[in-house]
């Protein structure tokens, strides 16, 4: 095991994250469910504390930026499960006067950057990683971006910068679910071959099943051992993962749940291991 300590937040499990995502999406009657389910396992691993690289007492020195802000509901679920967000705040999701929108805001404890505009998170994470280096501060900066964010030219500006400056305290996780708002990435803007593209920009590239928590823990553990280069984990995922009728379906990028959808989806999540 790459990390010596036990999970600090064993209650942050993929199943618990998925349950909250469905409940809140249903209550608020909003979409972006497929994207949140796509990253549920990744966020559960990061927010369980299993991959925290440097601890100051019980506080992690690692930082996390959610580049794909539209998956914020999964982030809120993780923060709630950690105990950093009350049930009352969580129940304000997409309500009037609440603090939780479809995209996360920095005013919330646990949100490093107000994201939602694609192609900005990686630049900000590079700045945070550079700041850690300038201050001689230990720990990782992790940023989770979507594969469609690789459509944005600014993402590639940041990719070049991180490699040129050898930001080896920066770990990028790409949620490679192969789909975006209006279609499959191969049809909208083909990203293949993805591995050599990152490699040719000077990055250390790893791949893992983005729904296999042990594989994610292992990959992030290897990445945390600084190698002189920035690192990217291409997490192969499925949009809507865990709810059969949502998996790989474009419509569940935006679609909200009906009562019967919700009952079926929750039953499937509860049945899962």
């Amino acid at each position: 095991m790459a990390f010596p300590h036990s999970p600090l937040f064993p209650q942050v499990t993929p199943k618990a994250v998925r349950r909250i995502v469905l409940e809140q999406a249903m209550r608020a009657h909003v979409g972006h469910i497929g994207s949140a389910l796509s990253v549920a396992d990744i966020l559960a691993v990061i927010f369980s504390g299993r991959v925290d690289s440097v601890m100051d007492g019980s506080v992690s020195k690692d930082r996390f930026v959610l580049g794909k802000g539209h998956a914020a509901l999964a982030l809120y679920a993780a923060l709630h499960l950690q105990g950093r967000m009350t049930a009352e705040v969580l129940d304000g999701y997409c309500g009037n006067g609440g603090t939780l929108g479809v995209h996360p805001e920095r005013e919330l404890d646990g949100v490093e950057f107000s994201s939602g505009s694609l192609g900005q998170g990686l630049s900000v994470a590079c700045g945070a990683a550079l700041a850690k280096r300038l201050k001689g501060e230990p720990g990782r900066v992790r940023v989770l971006i979507s594969d469609a964010e690789l459509n944005e030219g600014s993402t590639w500006e940041a990719i070049m910068f991180a490699a040129h400056r050898k930001l080896d305290n920066l770990d990028v996780i790409v949620d490679v679910n192969g789909q975006q708002a209006l279609g499959m990435t191969k049809d909208v803007m083909d990203l293949t071959p993805l591995v050599p593209r990152w490699q040719s920009f000077g990055w250390e590239v790893r791949q893992a099943d983005g729904h296999d928590t042990e594989a994610l823990v292992a990959s992030l553990g290897i990445m945390a051992k600084a190698s002189g280069r920035p690192q990217v984990l291409l997490a192969r995922t499925m949009s809507g993962k865990g709810v059969g009728f949502m998996e790989g379906q474009i419509k569940w990028h935006y679609w909200p749940l009906s009562d019967s959808d919700f009952t079926a989806a929750m039953a499937e999540v509860e049945r899962a291991a």
């Binding site: 920095r106 490093e112 950057f113 107000s114 939602g116 505009s117 192609g119 900005q120 990686l122 630049s123 900000v124 994470a125 590079c126 700045g127 945070a128 990683a129 550079l130 700041a131 850690k132 300038l134 201050k135 030219g153 600014s154 500006e157 940041a158 070049m160 910068f161 040129h164």
Partner: protein, 340 residues
């Protein structure tokens, strides 16, 4: 003004380890003194302005005070949404330095002109927008803003050639400065355009017409109270800026006049059309686009004539002002067309 910038940044960096300087591959023969003195705090991030603002956001969030440098239009407009979602939305002390207002990059052509940077940025709440009129004011504005928590945009001139008489390096956020007093006409200039207004005032003075010239360098926060107090004393005002007539100081003055119900007619001298296919030096382009001293003088005379006509209740006859005549050094030109 660029030299004043670098001298001031070195001074700040000596005292404050949070100061960093980033450039998007511009500033040849300008930034070297800082880079040599603080090689670990200077970053050429390549020609990538969006990433530069994103980096600065992450650095400012981590406790640094990054100054980011480029030509004004590239610094302000290319990464506009990064500025909005980064330092503005998250209230972080990123200092954006844009060099070359208006037609300062004259022969470089229209891609290098900054004509809407101030208007676009002064809409952003909490972003200080500062257009220093000269090097002395540039230095004091940088020092004044440095310790503050929020973001700021500085539109700086390229060269260190002109000092506005009477300004003496004064700067205060939300305040404007009167650098010439007179009762017959009022000019309100955005930053370095004060030089144009002062030349117009000189020409009018020869005719026996004395002008007040106010310099507005703190475009945001706007000097609303100073403007209100001055505008309430004059029946007409001529605004001037090296900027489109919409969005800058002319618009600001109109906002103040309208919101305070002042009895003051405003003539905005600013650029009103797309400057494409018209090469020339800065003075030529200023004249072509209606922001030369001659245009300002003509606009003031027109304003004065209309005010007099209004007082006497007589109809305004066009082109009467030509009868007043100009000194030989100032060629009369037609009054600028009204801004759209």
């Amino acid at each position: 003004m660029r030299k004043a910038l670098v001298r001031t940044l070195i001074e700040l960096a000596e005292k404050d380890p949070r100061v960093l300087l980033m450039t998007a591959d511009l500033g040849y023969t300008v930034l070297e003194p800082f880079a040599e003195r603080f090689p670990d705090r200077f970053f050429n991030v390549g020609v990538a302005e969006q990433n530069m603002i994103g980096l600065a956001t992450g650095l400012a969030d981590s406790g640094f005070i990054p100054y980011v440098y480029s030509i004004a239009t590239f610094a302000a407009l290319r990464p506009y949404e990064f500025i909005r979602n980064g330092p503005v939305l998250q209230k972080l002390p990123v200092r954006i330095i844009g060099v070359g207002g208006g037609f300062e990059y004259d022969h470089a052509g229209p891609t290098h002109y900054a004509l809407e940077d101030v208007g676009a940025l002064r809409m952003q709440p909490g972003l200080q927008v500062i257009t220093p009129a000269d090097s002395g004011q540039c230095r004091s504005a940088l020092l004044h803003v440095h310790g503050g928590g929020g973001p700021a945009y500085f539109r700086l001139g390229k060269d260190d050639v002109y000092a506005v008489p009477g300004l003496s390096g004064r700067f205060e956020p939300g305040r404007a400065h009167v650098v010439r007093q007179g009762n017959d006409a009022l000019f309100i200039a955005m930053g370095p355009a004060a030089a144009l207004a002062l030349r117009a005032a000189d020409a009018l003075s020869v005719q026996g017409m004395e002008s007040t010239v106010m310099v507005v360098s703190s475009m945001s926060p706007a000097p609303v109270e100073d403007l209100r107090a001055l505008l309430s004393r004059f029946p007409f005002a001529v605004t001037v800026e090296a900027h489109y007539a919409t969005g800058g100081v002319g618009s600001l003055v109109c906002e103040v006049v309208a919101e305070h119900n002042l009895d003051c007619r405003v003539t905005r001298c600013g650029v009103t059309r797309n400057p494409s296919g018209e090469q020339g030096d800065q003075e030529f382009l200023n004249r072509l686009h209606g922001i030369s001293p001659e245009h300002l003088a003509a606009a003031a005379l027109e304003g004065s004539r209309r005010a007099a006509a209004k007082r006497s209740g007589s109809a305004v006859k066009p082109d009467d002002w030509r009868a007043i005549g100009f000194p030989a050094s100032v060629e009369p030109v037609k009054a600028p067309p009204p801004a759209p």
